[in-house]
Amino acid sequence: MSDRTNQSVTGVASTGNGRAAMLEVDGIHTYYGQIEALKGVSLNVRDGEIVTLIGGNGAGKTTTLRTISGLMHPRQGSIKLQGQVIDQMPAHDVVAQGISHSPEGRRIFPRMSVRENLELGAFLRKDRTEIQSDMDRVFELFPRLKERFGQTAGTMSGGEQQMLAIGRALMAKPKVLLLDEPSMGLAPLLVEQIFNIVQEINAQGTTILLVEQNALMALSVAHRGYVIETGNIVLHDDAKALQQNELVRKAYLGEE
């Protein structure tokens, strides 16, 4: 069943630039009850990369991220972080291993302040001074959050909430940051700003797996991309090549 996708992964490795594997997803099958949402998804993310997973509604993008972060568990297949198997760990242990997930729909804590939200991002950390310096770093990336420091998060605009969701995920000091649709519902100018910051976060050393419906934007910042359709990876390549790929252009970039 997963032969094809396994081959794909090897294929990608050969186009790689020699960096160490960070996240390896190998043939995972994830179910909602009896419904098979992921039918053997394989992908890998190397240290320092931005990899994007693009695809339409209901293709399995969010399920893939939820399975990686431990909110769901695959019935088959494996997920490894730096060689360590994490696919049966509960979500709170996966965070401790170094994967931080900014979920679909932002999911900030609406009745808490910006500060409390950010502090919760660092829930597992004990290093007070470093937490403070990471918070300062988040404020450098998102000066808006500093202005809103004491504000109740639920009363902020969608864009500000998205910034908070990303900032909160960064507070865990992750090795890998999972971003689910950071552009959803935002004005075009804001989308561009968010993607610039995604690149900046990456440049500062965080590996990123980015899930997007906005394929154009996602491919413009990513190093490599995977295309998912109804629970299967159907394409993978360098982001530049995918941007030129006819199938992608037709299906996701709105070209005829």
Partner: protein, 306 residues
């Protein structure tokens, strides 16, 4: 006027006991949106645990004050630990596996648990009402004052024990790490797990806290009324639940406020109407308040979770 002040003082002592129980309902509802119907019966069992401890001491009028205080303190500690442990077990056995089931399912499980606890109570201490030894005499503290208001030492003890417990609880929820985890879990369970919060442990902690508070209530109620029986949990639990709804279910301060309000209403009704009307009066107040404030006194109209 004096009678009125008297009633308010009585209501305050009784109300603080309701507040302790109401907090258990509101804590659990706040975090998993379950009306824990077994909570009143847990309170009844803790009053039995306290009774068992108090009966170990042979307390009479002439017993030294030290012995009396030790007996009461020990009863409080044992009842609180007992309530906490039993409540955690209840969550583990009857609710945890149903956490993702349709809402009605754990509710039915809670009702079943309530019956089980009642049966345990009946088997443990029998069906008859029991006298609870009251080590502290109810000396009137206002006896020397020139007006006719009674405020017994026992009332003072009930309030003096309850208030620090309520404050401690407020501190835990707002200032500590586990308290922060509880508030986060109440707002968004998945997002909390993504922060590294152990959801199972956090929910168990809410039950632990609620159970300990029920334990304190079990002791204080026994001291206040001097009696308990295996069915006592139903009515008291229902009133405390009313208090929690009145204050705004899920809101801790609201539960305390609602508890004291219910205590006052009960005291007023007992004094000026008739104790046989009291339950009707309490629920009439509940209905009236909910008509005008459907989410309770301090309840927030929360936006949809998604």
């Amino acid at each position: 006027m004096e009678a009125f002040i008297q009633v308010l003082l009585t209501g305050l002592a009784l109300g603080s006991v309701f507040a302790l129980i109401a907090l258990g309902y509101t804590l659990v509802y706040g975090i998993i949106e379950l009306i824990n119907f077994a909570h009143g019966d847990l309170f009844m069992l803790t009053s039995f645990a306290a009774l068992t401890v108090l009966n170990l001491f042979d307390i009479g009028r002439s017993s030294p004050l030290g012995t009396k205080l030790v007996a009461l303190f020990l009863a409080l500690i044992v009842a609180m630990i007992f309530g906490a442990v039993v409540n955690v077990l209840i969550e583990r056995i009857a609710y945890r596996r149903l956490r993702n089931a349709p809402r009605l399912t754990p509710l039915i499980s809670a009702i079943g648990m309530s019956f089980i606890l009642i049966q345990i109570g009946q088997t443990w201490k029998g069906p008859r009402p029991l006298d609870v030894p009251r080590p502290i005499a109810n000396t009137n503290l206002f006896g020397a004052l020139p007006f006719d208001v009674r405020f017994g030492l026992r009332d003072l003890v009930v309030i003096a024990v309850t208030i620090p417990i309520l404050l401690g609880m407020q501190y835990i929820v707002t200032r500590t790490r586990i308290g922060k985890a509880m508030r986060a879990t109440a707002q968004d369970r998945d997002a909390s797990a993504l922060m590294g919060i152990n959801i199972n442990r956090t929910i168990a902690f809410a039950f632990l806290l609620g159970g300990a508070l029920a334990g304190a209530a079990g002791v204080m109620y026994g001291q206040y009324t001097g009696t308990t029986d295996y069915l006592r949990g139903f009515e008291t639990g229902l009133k405390a639940f009313t208090a929690a709804v009145l204050g705004g279910i899920g809101n801790l301060t609201g539960a305390v406020l609602g508890g004291i309000l219910i205590g006052m209403v009960q005291a007023l009704s007992d004094r000026y109407l008739s104790s046989s009307y009291t339950n009707a009066v309490i629920f009439a107040v509940l209905i009236i308040i909910l008509v005008f404030r459907p989410s309770g006194l301090l309840g927030e109209r929360t936006p949809d979770k998604a």
